[in-house]
Amino acid sequence: MKYKLSFCTAFLMLLLLAGCRKTDFAAVESPAYIRVFNSLDFNTTVDNKDAPQPFLVMLIDPVLDKDGIPESAAITGDFLDKRDAWARPYPDAVNTTLWQKEYPGTLKVLAAPILNGYDLSSWAQVPSGKHRIIFQTRPYNQTPFFSLEKKLRGVSIIDTTIEMGVREVYTMQVLQKNYQSPKTILYVRNENFVKQPLSDSMVYVNFYNLSSEGFFDVAKTEKDPNDVPNKLMGDRMGVYFSLTSSKSNSPKPVAGFTNVPMGAIIRSHKPEAAPYYSFPLFADTSASKIFTGNMGQYFAFCAPGYTPDIIPPFETPVGVFTGVALGDYGDDAGSQFWPYKIKGDLRTGMVVSIHSGKDNPKSFSTINTVEYINKKFYLTTIQRKFEPPTY
């Protein structure tokens, strides 16, 4: 009987074990890491209402039927809406939004690991090697692409093949090729920050002007009365930065960091990583060396021959000056001095200040990319891995 009982117990244990949830962990063999933005920004008007709309689906290795309509794909990035001004340093894991501001966005995909200390959780793992990529327009609704009727599956605006290296980090964008035509291109940039010895006491930033060909020449002839002036970026501009620290709720300049020359920004669709420039994480010497305070960063872009100190404040000629303010800059309204403002989260901008270890908050530097595309600024922030908080 004893034997019987122990047999029963063993069987019971077996059953208990067998009842556990069995999970197949997804794995990608020799992965590449991608992050995709839809940088198209045309508005639908009565004039262009028949043109394809900038609401896309990305299909990697699609299977097409005999009429060229996609039937399935190895990887699908659906509901790809226009990108946000700020691409966060972390994915919105708990967000269940269907329409995406980027790929992978809120999708539950296999994210890239922490690589060389950088948190790449906003990048998705995909198999490396040669892949066909199609971007297709899709209707504005909640139906997944492959559940749409075939006639609603839109038109293909990009159909190309790219080769991705093993464990390489790529940022891809759908861009408008020429400012006066709706033709689009896929811009694939192999990011090199993971391979560089970047210091963790400096905040890094690089600049791209990914505007369409002929953007400046055509855009300067357009005039929109609702626009504040100084929104146009020339094809070749110098970059100057200023830092502020928030003191008694208003930003005050940090001594020694006003209109410091930084580098250049050149309009190009060449898929090359631009050089990184930097400023110190603890620029404000009055702050502790743990938390640098609520910081604001200002980037001024001036045509050759001008500096932010000598630009005329009013009636500035078109294409001579534009600027973007980031972080804790105070008032949200754009002005001719700071026509673009991107606030992000107050303490998760170019400087991430967050509870880590025993310090709350503790400041960390980031790697940033500032992109100017056809009258809009976009900021992408990449954070480093940091210690979890201890309580």
Partner: protein, 362 residues
Amino acid sequence: MKKISSISICALLMLMMAAGCKKEDLTAPADRTTLPRNMGEFIENNYDLSILKAALIKTGMMNDLKQPGAFTMFAPDNKAFNQIGITEESIAAMNTDSLKFILQYHLIADRYYVSNFPVQLDNVYKTQNGKELYVSISKQQSQGANNKDTYVNGVPVMPEAKRNIPLSNGVLHILFRPLNISTGTVQDYIASRSELSLFAAIMKKFNHWDDLKSKPLLTVYAPVNDAFLAYGLTADSIAKINPATFNPLVFDVYLLQMKSARVFASDAATLTENGTQPISNGIMIQPDYAMNPGYTFSTYNFTEIATLWIYKKAINGIWDVNPHGNATVYYAGGLNYSNKLNSNGVVHTIDQLIFDPARFRK
């Protein structure tokens, strides 16, 4: 004792096995013992749809609507028919084939609730007569998916209880006005209407008459004869005009400068996300004019206000009201003679000229 424990262990075991089974999410089935009526019966038994009923019976389509389906019908009610002067008596006098052609145009295959249409302009659906109709859903963000402003070829779908009527073989949406379609070209349509004869004469004079037939897609805003007479343009004086002495814009504007466009009166309203209709949403008329087709449909008293707003861009970049003619132009007869879809484009009828011809003499 021993016996009991081994029984209880066995029982526990059984219980665990049962508990270890896959658990389905069970929801109690809804009562599906009664089906709603079919579309044909619904129309037959609705006082507001008696003209539609008469038309369906006359064309022999009523029986089709009692078949399994599914169909989606955009159904004009009696008020909608009365609006364009159709009564039950006039249905009896109509040509059966052309009536059938029009009625079939209101019927598409499959079951579409308003929330099934993508939120964008001009979702194309093939109708029962083979022609395509265009369903536009407003981008207005404050409205729920089934309450969004909906337009079929520029004609509003009625709100609330008059849309998304579920039937056993489809869905019914009540339309504010019957759809207006013909198989002829834009040229045929303009030629067929006597109140557009001066516009036709102008088009001939300015060598655009053949374009109204040959261009694959056009949108035409055709002013009625009174509009020309108001500026002293009669058949006689039009015959004497020398086109070379005019800036061509003066009459090209009515063809939107031959832009390939299918513009319905409600389009600009459909595009607004927060209730305002920015000028930049409108139609640019080169070099520096803009035309914004303003439109509102009141769901309170079921009236529509449609106006063409004409602007000119001043040197400082600000849009001014059109200084060279009329700044606001109305559609002739409400919109009863507009949103007319022909084989190669849309025709709207307007009651004023946009530009004062005298201001456009070279």
